[in-house]
Structures are given as structure tokens and as C-alpha cells.
């Protein structure tokens, strides 16, 4: 049973004084999801549940939680550049239209009990690094998928292949974070064309619907900007088929409202040199092969 509680107490040890936690949702196995009051009241109001694109990222991807050296500050993780890029997209969206409601809404989620117990440290670290996180979900390996579902997550990002696969299997649209991403100003999203036209039949149709809905949201966001100097770039790569399959993927994406910026048709050429050049933050519809 999931219940919502109002938490108006300022809890000590949860970070600096202006970090107040407004609303809490307790999941059935005591996972705790907390809505953080943003320093910026405007954007937190605008992250309207219906219009926001909710992206959940695992804490292990955001921070390098390894070193237990007594110092409370974590190192930065693989997802760090991604969060910065998401923030930049939001900033630019609001520049174009201060009343914009189609924004990224970032949820930081723990997916194992060890991380779950680091909640206060995780929150203070997001503050330390100035990350715009609107919700924290302190879940364990048993209930993180439920947290994803109750929070209506549009996209779940992890560096852990099996986590992503598990979530996908339960209908949550998931993708692997690219470990090799160089820090890029621009949010670069890569669609793997072979899966665009031939969706993975293992994942349930709920996940495919979620995939299409996320793509459409992304496509709409992209349209807010011009051809040049966009903070978001949509890249299509087809690995196996020839030009016809790339053409089909372009048409399919277009029919879903996604206009592609860059397209690469590899027709069997090895993928990894291209991925190193393309530097996507994450890969969508990937059949999880490297």
C-alpha cells in the first residue's frame, strides 16, 4: 500500500537549511520518495505532472559512491554530464518560453539497500553539486521498479544492464547510460534504428508504448529550438540494414513527431568507433549490445 504524507517538519541532518522536504510517499517496503522543494520556485511549479518528462537516474550513476574515506563528498559519476545537459535543456526551454511546461523532471533513485541507507548523504551531495533534482526515491533492489511506476517515470536510466532490463520487462521505458560520454554541452540522444523499425519483442507492449511516448515528447522538445545551436540533438544510427532501413527508421521517427538531426547508416561497419565520435548521453531502443 502506497500512502502519501505531508512532511512539514524540517529534518536536521537532511542537508542545508533551505532543503525542506514537502511531500513524502512511502512505498510498501518502506521505500521513501521525497519531493524536494527547489531553490527555484518557478520551475518546481511548472513541472506539472502531465507535461513534465520524468527521467529517473540511479544514484550509482550520478555519484561515484565507492570511496568511504570519511569525506562526505562523493566523486562525480557517469551520469553527471547527462544531468548537466538536462538542466541546460530546461534553461533554454524556459528562455524560449518562460511559461514552458514541457520540461525534464529529474528523479534520483537508489536501487539497492546499501544506497538506500545513504539517503542524507545523497541529498547533501546533490546540493553540494548544485544538481536540480526534484524527487528522491530511496528504494531497494526489491521495490525500485514499483517506485518507478508510482512516480510515472517516462525514462529510467542506469549503468546497470540487468536493472534496465528488469525495469523494461515491467513496462518502464529504460535505457543504458553511455559510460564513454565526454562532457558535452548539448544533450545528445541516440536512437538505434534497427530497433525503431523492429522493436524488441521481448519487452512488453507497455514498454514499447512508453518508448514511443517518450520519443514523441523528446521530438516536441526538439521543435522548440532551431536547427542550429540547439541544446538537444537527436541522432539516429542504423547498424545492420542498408540505406532502406535507415530511410524507414527516419520515416517512422518522423511519423512519431521526431525529427532527426544526424543520421548514420553503418550497414554492418563496426559500431564502437562511431559511438566514440557521436558521444551520446544515452542510447534508446538499444538491443543492449555494444
Amino acid at each position: 500500500m502506497v500512502s502519501t504524507i505531508q512532511n512539514t517538519d524540517v529534518k536536521q541532518g537532511f542537508g542545508p537549511e533551505n532543503m525542506r522536504l514537502k511531500k513524502g510517499i512511502i512505498g510498501k517496503d518502506s521505500s521513501l520518495c521525497l519531493l524536494a522543494e527547489d531553490a527555484d520556485p518557478v520551475s518546481s511549479l511548472q513541472k506539472d505532472a502531465d507535461r513534465a518528462v520524468v527521467v529517473a537516474v540511479t544514484s550509482r550513476a550520478v555519484f561515484d559512491c565507492g570511496a568511504e574515506d570519511g569525506d562526505d563528498v562523493y566523486g562525480v559519476g557517469v551520469a553527471f554530464p547527462l544531468l548537466q545537459a538536462l538542466q541546460r535543456v530546461n534553461e533554454r526551454l524556459l528562455e524560449e518560453n518562460p511559461a514552458e511546461s514541457l520540461l525534464f523532471d529529474v528523479v534520483l533513485i537508489t536501487t539497492d539497500s546499501q544506497q538506500q541507507q545513504q539517503s542524507s548523504r545523497i541529498i547533501s551531495n546533490t546540493r553540494h553539486y548544485g544538481l536540480e533534482i526534484s524527487r528522491f526515491c530511496f528504494s531497494s533492489e526489491e521495490d525500485f521498479i514499483e517506485s518507478l511506476l508510482t512516480n510515472h517515470v517516462d525514462l529510467f536510466l542506469s549503468t546497470d544492464r540487468s536493472e534496465a532490463a528488469q525495469a523494461s520487462h515491467k513496462g518502464v521505458f529504460s535505457a543504458l547510460l553511455n559510460r564513454k560520454v565526454a562532457s558535452s554541452e548539448q544533450l545528445r540522444v541516440l536512437f538505434c534504428g534497427d530497433a525503431v523499425i523492429r522493436p524488441d519483442t521481448d519487452s512488453p507492449s507497455a514498454s514499447q508504448d512508453a518508448a514511443q511516448s517518450f520519443s514523441a515528447q523528446l521530438g516536441e522538445m526538439r521543435q522548440r529550438f532551431g536547427l542550429l545551436h540547439s541544446p538537444l540533438s537527436i541522432v539516429l544510427v542504423t547498424s545492420r540494414g542498408g540505406r532502406e532501413s535507415c530511410g524507414t527508421a527516419l520515416r517512422t521517427l518522423r511519423s512519431r513527431g521526431v525529427s532527426v538531426d544526424e543520421a548514420y547508416c553503418l550497414a554492418g561497419a563496426p559500431r564502437s568507433p562511431f559511438l566514440s565520435l557521436l558521444r551520446p548521453h544515452f542510447l534508446l531502443n538499444n538491443d543492449l549490445e555494444d
Binding site: 532551431g226 520515416r251 532527426v260 544526424e262 554492418g268 568507433p273 565520435l277
Partner: protein, 368 residues
């Protein structure tokens, strides 16, 4: 850039897709044997193939669209392209060269059905993927065998050239060509030509200038600094010392490798690849060093034409190459005047301007 010198008579090379040296009997045999597959062959692995990267503007004629881009900007250009998506482009300067490459592939596949030592043409363009469908439609329309492409949406194509192990890059943008040369990739700038004379449909013909194309520019430097007499003296004195290699040496080498595959099957006389050296050096003197250099590299060239400073046009008119590489615009323009598809290799001392001087208006977002 477009060269509009000379008469406006235009003729395009015929479709080279249908070349066959089979006898009528062999043809009949093939028809009786239905097991010959007609499905599209798989593209070869990049490291095995001879990869030719061509930009959209040299493969196809995009003059009108380029004008829209320059006069009205990127958004209008894209809008026009999308509106005309089902309208194929006409052939550009590299078109007949690409068709000839495909004809050679057909012959190679007949002789070596399992080999991946083939030409692989990759479309390498700066265009946004919005133009992608029009380009794919055009490739389909002209029945070109191009299965690989990169539409970089304004980003530099150089890294992708390397990822495809590109052996030769042809583009309309001199800045990109120079960048490729700096990265050790053979490259040349192509221009739209009013006149493109008919070329052979049974044999790919590639013509090269010598100094600063196949060879380094070391001797050209001497000529420029000290004049013709000193140049002759120097070349005679160093006759047996091979010249250093130039940017197109590797491509000649690749062509030679394929030629040997035909010789190996007894097809030296009707080899579908023929190479030419068209140089201002003279046969009597400075030409010797050039020939000896090629020999020291283990490279053959089918015909060496020493012009002793005479214009190259008339000779090219006789040869009718599908493509001619020269480092001097004077010769490129001269060739284009008589209808030879000529391209500029911006390498060496003959390039009088600094990198920054040329084409400052070219931005990385310019579609190519």
C-alpha cells in the same frame, strides 16, 4: 564553386551499370542457370574495402539548393529540401566516377565472388538528416550502390572518414578537404562543371598530376624558388633518389592492388581500371626521376604523359578520364574547360594562401 568557362554544351556520361564482357553464349548460360542470386550484395568490411567518401554536393547537383542556403539561410534551405523530397537530384561531378567504381565492382565480384576487396562508396555529408530522405530517394532513383552514409548535421566529417578507413574523400568544401589531407586521408575538392564529356563505360580511368599529388612538392618548391633551370639540374642530380610521397600515392596504390586482381585472372589487356600520369615534367629529363620513383614504390602506372610544360587539356581530352587530380587550380580549370572532371588537391607550395585566407565564409554548418 562552379566553373563556367568554355562552351555550354553539356553531355553526361552514360549509365555505366550495364557493362559486361561476357559472350552471348555465357549470357545464355546465365539465364538457363537460375541459381545466380540477384539479391543485393552485402557491403564489405571497411578495413577490407577501398572506401571512397563523397559529399552530397559532388555526387549530385545541388546548385539550386546551395543558392537558397547562401541567399536565404539554413531554415529555408531545409524547408525546400523537405518539400522536394521525392524529386531526385541530377548527377553531380563525381557521379560518373562512382558509377565506374560500381562497374569495376561488378567485374571483381564475377571473378572473386568471396572477396571483400572492392570499392565501397560512402556518402559523407554535413547535411542535416532532414535532407536524408531526399538523398536516399535519389540514390534509389539512380540505382547507385551506396549503403553507408553519415549525415553529420553540421559536425565535422573527418572523424567518420577515419572510422570508415576512407581511402579517398571528395567534397565541394576546400576547408574539409584540407582537414582530411592533414589527417593523412587522400582528398580533393570537386567543382560543378558546365561541361562533362562522355567517358568510357567499360573502363575506369583515373589521371593524376605528379608533383604535389602522387609525389611530394619538394621539387616544385625548387622550381618556384630557383626557376626552371635549377629545377632540371636538381632533378637530374637526384634522378636515382626517389621523391617523397604525395597525398594521392595511397590511392594509386589501392588501384594497383585491384588491377593485379584482374591481371591474375588473365585480364591485363582488358583491365577495367587504367591509370595515367599527366605531368608538366618532360620525358627527356625530369620525367625520369618520376618514373624511377614509381618503380621504387613498386607501383605501376599504365600511361605516363610528359607534357614538358604544355597545357594538359588536349591530352586529357584524348584520355577521357573519369577523374583527374591536380594541385594547381590553373590545370583544374583548364581540364574543366574541355569537359574533364578535374579536382583540386590543396597541398603543397602551389597553394598561395594561408588556411585562414580561403573561404572564411564557409561555416561548419554549411551543408555539403
Amino acid at each position: 564553386m562552379s566553373l563556367k568557362n568554355g562552351p555550354t554544351l553539356t553531355a553526361r556520361g552514360p549509365d555505366l551499370a550495364s557493362i559486361s564482357n561476357r559472350t552471348p553464349l555465357e549470357d545464355a548460360r546465365m539465364q538457363l542457370n537460375p541459381s545466380t542470386p540477384t539479391r543485393k550484395p552485402k557491403p564489405p568490411k571497411p578495413e577490407n574495402a577501398i572506401t571512397i567518401g563523397v559529399s552530397a554536393r559532388v555526387l549530385f547537383n545541388m546548385e539550386k539548393e546551395q543558392q537558397i542556403y547562401q541567399q536565404q539561410g539554413l531554415e529555408d534551405y531545409i524547408k525546400y529540401q523537405v518539400e522536394h523530397e521525392t524529386q531526385p537530384f541530377n548527377p553531380g561531378p563525381a557521379f560518373s566516377f562512382v558509377k565506374a567504381l560500381e562497374a569495376v565492382n561488378t567485374r571483381l565480384r564475377e571473378l572473386y565472388p568471396d572477396s571483400e576487396e572492392l570499392f565501397d562508396v560512402v556518402l559523407m555529408t554535413n547535411n542535416h538528416a532532414y535532407v536524408g530522405l531526399r538523398l536516399i530517394n535519389t540514390i534509389n532513383h539512380h540505382q547507385l550502390f551506396i549503403e553507408r552514409f553519415c549525415m553529420t548535421g553540421g559536425n565535422s566529417p573527418i572523424g567518420y572518414l577515419k572510422a570508415y578507413h576512407t581511402n579517398l574523400y571528395l567534397s565541394a568544401d576546400p576547408a574539409k578537404v584540407r582537414e582530411a589531407l592533414e589527417e593523412g586521408i587522400a582528398a580533393a575538392t570537386m567543382f560543378t562543371q558546365e561541361k562533362m564529356t562522355q567517358v568510357s563505360d567499360t573502363q575506369l580511368r583515373v589521371a593524376f598530376d605528379g608533383d604535389a599529388v602522387l609525389f611530394s612538392d619538394e621539387s616544385e618548391r625548387i622550381y618556384k624558388a630557383h626557376g626552371l633551370d635549377k629545377f632540371f639540374e636538381h632533378e637530374k642530380a637526384h634522378e636515382n633518389k626517389p621523391l617523397d610521397h604525395g597525398p594521392l600515392k595511397g590511392f594509386l596504390e589501392a588501384l594497383g592492388k585491384l588491377q593485379k586482381k584482374f591481371y591474375g585472372k588473365g585480364q591485363r589487356m582488358d583491365c577495367p581500371i587504367r591509370t595515367y600520369l599527366v605531368t608538366a615534367r618532360s620525358a627527356a629529363s625530369s620525367g625520369t626521376r618520376a618514373l624511377k620513383t614509381l618503380r621504387s614504390w613498386g607501383l605501376e602506372i599504365d600511361e605516363a604523359l610528359f607534357l614538358a610544360g604544355a597545357p594538359k587539356g588536349p591530352m586529357l581530352e584524348k584520355i577521357r578520364p573519369h577523374i583527374f587530380f591536380d594541385d594547381q587550380m590553373f590545370h583544374v580549370e583548364g581540364a574543366a574547360e574541355i569537359g574533364t572532371v578535374a579536382c583540386h588537391v590543396p597541398y603543397g607550395i602551389a597553394q598561395g594562401v594561408t588556411k585562414k585566407g580561403i573561404n572564411d565564409k564557409e561555416t561548419s554548418a554549411a551543408p555539403k
